[in-house]
């Protein structure tokens, strides 16, 4: 026998009616959205919420990590040997490059000193694993597993082995969020490698495009875009994208589509580059 009927079966339930409750929560939501989107005053709340979420994020990641580790464990030895040999070869090549680079750097420093130019900022790099990719169609962001504890600052940039990934926009104690260059709020100062022409690369939400280049600009399909370093935030010379096609319409500006070089889908690790000396730059 039931001693007490469930509340939803009682004739006159106590408390607010469902409609009144909904109205209350609607108003609270609108307040929150306005405070967050228009006035950006909820940073503390965001940090707290994300710190509390961190254990769940790590838990979600664990099964994949275990599977991947098992996978690595059972990799054939021959495969490993071949890879090892190849990596050795690569390391030797890189070593030769590094010697040359050192020489060039020295020369460059002397030349810069001669020309009285500002010295380039050195960067500290941190390896980070991608924790999750949120399914919000309105934002192109990823979450990584290092935060302010590892020295990450908003505005730091992220790269993978093939190019620029994006920029750190939110830093929490143990995680940070990176806006990909395809995020609709991201702009990247770039340079066309072949011609040296400067341009600005805009994220569109589901791709990237070059804007404000005239119709007669010297552009070919397959041209490589590299960071120009003009804003002082991105180091110059990082590969960013290749041009996939351009249409000249009736307006004076060409419509140029690009393809991002970085591929965060292929591997789970990226590199975060943090300027060595603290600076007062804000993220774009």
């Amino acid at each position: 026998m039931r001693s007490r009927p469930p509340p939803h079966l009682t004739l006159f339930p106590h408390g607010l009616s469902a409609g009144a409750k909904l109205l209350l929560y609607l108003l609270t939501s609108i307040l929150l959205i306005t405070a967050d989107a228009r006035f950006h005053v909820l940073a503390f709340l965001r940090t707290t919420g994300n710190t509390l979420l961190y254990p769940i994020q790590v838990t979600a990641q664990t099964p994949w990590l275990v599977i991947r580790q098992m996978d690595t464990f059972f990799t054939r030895q021959q495969l490993l040997l071949a890879e090892n040999k190849q990596l050795h070869q690569q390391a030797i090549n890189f070593q030769i490059d590094a010697w040359q680079l050192q020489h060039v750097l020295q020369e460059n420093q002397q030349l810069r000193a001669l020309l009285a130019l500002r010295n380039r900022q050195s960067l500290v790099s941190h390896a980070a694993a991608i924790l999750s990719i949120p399914r919000d169609p309105y934002q192109r962001q990823i979450t990584i597993d290092i935060g302010s504890h590892a020295g990450v600052r908003a505005g730091a940039i992220a790269v993978d082995d093939s190019g620029l990934v994006g920029q750190v926009t939110q830093v929490y104690p143990f995680t940070s969020q990176i806006a990909l260059i395809s995020d609709k709020d991201e702009t990247t100062p770039v340079q066309i490698q072949r011609t040296g022409e400067h341009a600005i690369l805009y994220g569109t939400g589901d791709g990237i495009e070059l804007r404000y280049l005239p119709n007669h600009a010297d552009i070919h399909q397959g041209d490589r875009l590299i960071t120009s370093g003009l804003d002082g935030l991105y180091p110059a010379g990082l590969p960013v994208a290749t041009i996939t096609g351009s249409q000249s319409n009736s307006q004076s500006f060409a419509h140029i589509d690009c393809h991002q070089l970085a591929n965060i889908d292929r591997h789970n690790h990226i590199l975060v580059l943090i300027p060595d000396a603290p600076r007062s730059g804000t993220p774009h």
Binding site: P6, I33, S132, P134, R135, D265
Partner: protein, 172 residues
């Protein structure tokens, strides 16, 4: 087949607090799994689906208020505007509340269509909020996740019904 003609559900009187909390936590974990970026638009919102289930079967335990807080958690996880998912969840669960008694008696294949509508409501509220908050671009193919969500409903229903109906036997 329990899914085609399920036995009549007894009106539950005992509390399912732990079961509900654990299932919601697992749904959150599913949402946070590292999905491939090319397939992201197919990923249903597991947290909302599980919330829908409990709002239909245990309306005394999961209501508009709980949905709002769960939506806020989703906002943190997604990096969306704070309050965006919270608002969408609250509206969706309110809509569930209007039809709860009918849905309670439907077999899952009959619940599927209303579930699709609820997921669409969530998607539409999200779109409206994002548009008002200043996001101009809205890739519409993301709405397809409502269809995959409806397909996931059957699987979720079977799993959650097992949990839901097993608990009293263990207790008695």
């Amino acid at each position: 087949m329990p899914i085609l003609a399920p036995p009549a559900t007894a009106i539950p009187t005992h509390h399912h607090g732990t079961t509900i909390a654990v299932s919601l936590l697992l749904a959150m974990v599913c949402n946070l799994l590292p999905w491939r970026i090319d397939w992201l638009w197919l990923r249903p919102d597991f947290l909302l689906l599980v919330t829908l289930y409990w709002a239909i079967y245990r309306p005394d335990q999961i209501g508009v208020g709980h949905a709002w807080w769960l939506g806020l958690v989703e906002d943190f996880a997604d990096g969306a505007h704070l309050g965006q998912h919270a608002l969408a969840y609250a509206v969706t669960i309110y809509a569930v509340g209007l039809f709860q008694r009918r849905l309670f008696n439907f077999p899952p294949w009959q619940q599927a269509l209303p579930v699709l509508v609820f997921l669409l409501i969530d998607e539409i509220v999200n779109l409206v909020v994002a548009t008002f908050a200043g996001d101009s671009r809205t890739p519409l193919y993301y709405a397809f996740s409502t269809v995959t969500g409806m397909l996931c409903w059957f699987v979720l229903w079977i799993i959650l019904h097992q949990l839901h109906n097993k608990a009293p036997h263990e207790k008695s």
